[in-house]
């Protein structure tokens, strides 16, 4: 009797696990088809580009403050921490290189991506989710207007175009922060700071790799944001859960993709 109960209990758990995995696989499949449909129906967003420009303002320009301030502080901290280590080896004049490479190759795209997911991604999900909850999406459908083409695609392209620009601004601001602390505060030679940075930072291997990362993160975060909004349960709780899922999933996606991309870009020191 006890064994029969245990068997039933185990079967129930297995079934729940199987159903959970299956539903997640279905969801990923649905999200992929959603992305394919979205890309194929992006004509309106590109033809009427002012719709996309409005979303670039919403996702990009309104994220500027948090991106610039964060970039400044990250650069300043990098300079302080980097100087501590470099001066032990008598290489404090390489501070510019350390700050620039850390930001351009890694911290710029990753931290800007995480901030973008929290600031713009969550807002995109909440906006689309609330449009669904208040029947604005259904109203559009009833007016024979495809909401994916009219609402989702401009937001997607607005986010995809904003993200690399925000990452670039983050890195630029970080380098400026590093300069303020390293050169102005600590007293590292300004000429060495800038010239070593210029000599060591490679356009293809460093800057382009950073740009590729930021584009990939931009696509991932914006895709997750628009999908979660569109797929949200149309209630206050459903929109709240969708917004949380956007931030969590986007953050994990950025970190996982960063590892994959860094591994692909890894040259083992050979340029």
């Amino acid at each position: 009797m006890q064994f029969a109960q245990w068997r039933e209990h185990a079967r129930g758990r297995l079934e729940r696990l199987g159903s959970g995995v299956t539903s997640q696989v279905w969801r990923i499949g649905f999200a992929s088809r959603f992305l394919a449909y979205l890309v194929m129906h992006s004509g309106t967003a590109l033809r009427r580009f002012r719709l996309t420009i409005a979303e670039i303002y919403f996702a990009g320009v309104l994220s500027l403050i948090i991106i610039l301030v964060s970039g400044l502080f990250v650069g300043m901290v990098l300079a302080l921490q980097g100087y501590e280590t470099l001066q032990r080896f008598g290489a404090s004049e390489s501070l510019g290189v350390l700050v620039a490479l850390s930001l351009v190759r890694e911290l710029g795209p990753v931290v800007a991506g995480l901030l973008f997911a929290s600031r713009a991604g969550s807002a995109i999900t909440a906006e689309i989710g609330l449009m669904k909850a208040t029947e604005q999406i259904s109203a559009m459908e009833m007016m024979a207007v495809d909401p994916i083409a009219r609402v989702v695609a401009p937001r997607f392209w607005g986010g995809v175009l904003s993200m690399p620009l925000l990452a670039a601004l983050f890195s630029a601001m970080g380098i400026f922060g590093g300069y303020l602390v390293g050169v102005q505060l600590i007293g590292v030679d300004a000429g060495a700071f800038w010239s070593q940075m210029q000599a060591a930072v490679d356009l293809r291997n460093d800057i382009m790799n950073g740009v590729i990362k930021s584009v990939v993160f931009g696509v991932a975060v914006t895709w997750i944001s628009v999908f979660e909004g569109y797929d949200a349960v149309p209630t206050a709780e459903g929109v709240s859960r969708a917004t949380t899922r956007t931030v969590v999933t986007s953050s994990l996606a950025i970190l996982a993709l960063d590892f994959v991309l860094t591994a692909l870009m890894f040259t083992g020191g050979k340029q």
């Binding site: 208040t134 109203a139 009833m142």
Partner: protein, 269 residues
């Protein structure tokens, strides 16, 4: 020669889950030019029927013909072509909250026409004048009362001069003045546009004053139909209970539950 009905629903059944049908063999015909009410208590299937007419859902059995086309045969293009001839007023208006009143009404015109901006402006003002809100063109939806938002949504739904206008619970949450305004507008707009209107509502007394014909639904079926006078005089127990707002009748006051005493854990006699 008599014109064919604008909406023909024949033996339509539908369920969100196969085991729980929401509509059961519903048959009805909506004549052109009429204001027709589909009434019944919440959960009786009337909103689902409206969604079948909108072709948002396909019947699991039977057929739906709207504006002369079988909805089951329409692809996405055909569906959108049909919907351009329809207008829909949602329960709470469903106005686009990031657009002004003017832009909301102009939205369908912008999306489906290439009219010059001046002509579009005149058309929007014409529609807003029809609902008495020309002076509110610059306001945002958050600045409108519930009744005003419903009127703006009405102006938006008639922007493309539809042949068929659908109303989903248009009277919910309106004060008596707004209610009177909406009732009058539904009738006037229907007659002046030469359109056909379908009102889905559970506000029976209010709706009986505006409709030409009524289909009364209960448990997914049409249980009574006729003119408002027929409905008021109906001997059908459910219709009588509903029209007169009686507590007792075929619809029980209590949701099915176990014995009251058992829930309160009362034992003995």
């Amino acid at each position: 020669m008599q014109q064919s009905p604008i909406v023909e629903i024949e033996n339509v059944s539908f369920g969100y889950e196969a085991a729980r049908p929401v509509l059961r063999e519903v048959t009805l015909a909506i004549p052109r030019g009429a204001v027709v009410g589909i009434m019944g208590q919440s959960g009786c299937g009337k909103t689902t029927l409206l969604r079948i007419i909108m072709a948002a859902y396909q019947p699991s059995a039977g057929s739906a013909r709207v504006l002369g086309e079988a909805t089951s045969r329409l692809d996405r293009e055909g569906l959108y072509r049909m919907r351009r001839k329809m207008g829909m007023l949602f329960q709470f208006g469903a106005l686009f909250t990031d657009m002004s009143v003017y832009d909301n009404v102009a939205f369908p015109l912008h999306e489906h026409t290439t009219l010059p901006e001046e002509l579009m402006h005149d058309l929007v003002m014409l529609k807003l004048q029809a609902v008495g809100l020309r002076g509110a063109a610059h306001l945002m939806p958050a600045e409108l009362s519930g009744g005003m938002a419903r009127r703006v949504a009405l102006a938006r739904s008639i922007a493309l001069d539809p042949q068929l206008i659908l109303y989903d619970e248009p009277f919910t949450g309106l004060d008596p003045i707004s209610f009177g305004v909406i009732v009058r507008l539904i009738r006037e707009l229907n007659d002046s546009l030469g359109a056909t209107s379908i009102i889905v509502t559970h506000d029976v007394q209010e709706a009986l004053g505006v409709v030409d014909y009524v289909y009364f639904m209960a448990a997914g079926r049409v249980i009574a139909q006729g003119t408002p006078e027929d409905i008021r005089a109906s001997g059908e127990p459910f219709v009588r209970q509903f029209v007169n707002g009686m507590r007792e009748g075929p619809v029980p006051f209590h949701y099915p539950a176990p014995e009251y005493g058992a829930d309160l854990e009362l034992t003995g006699s």
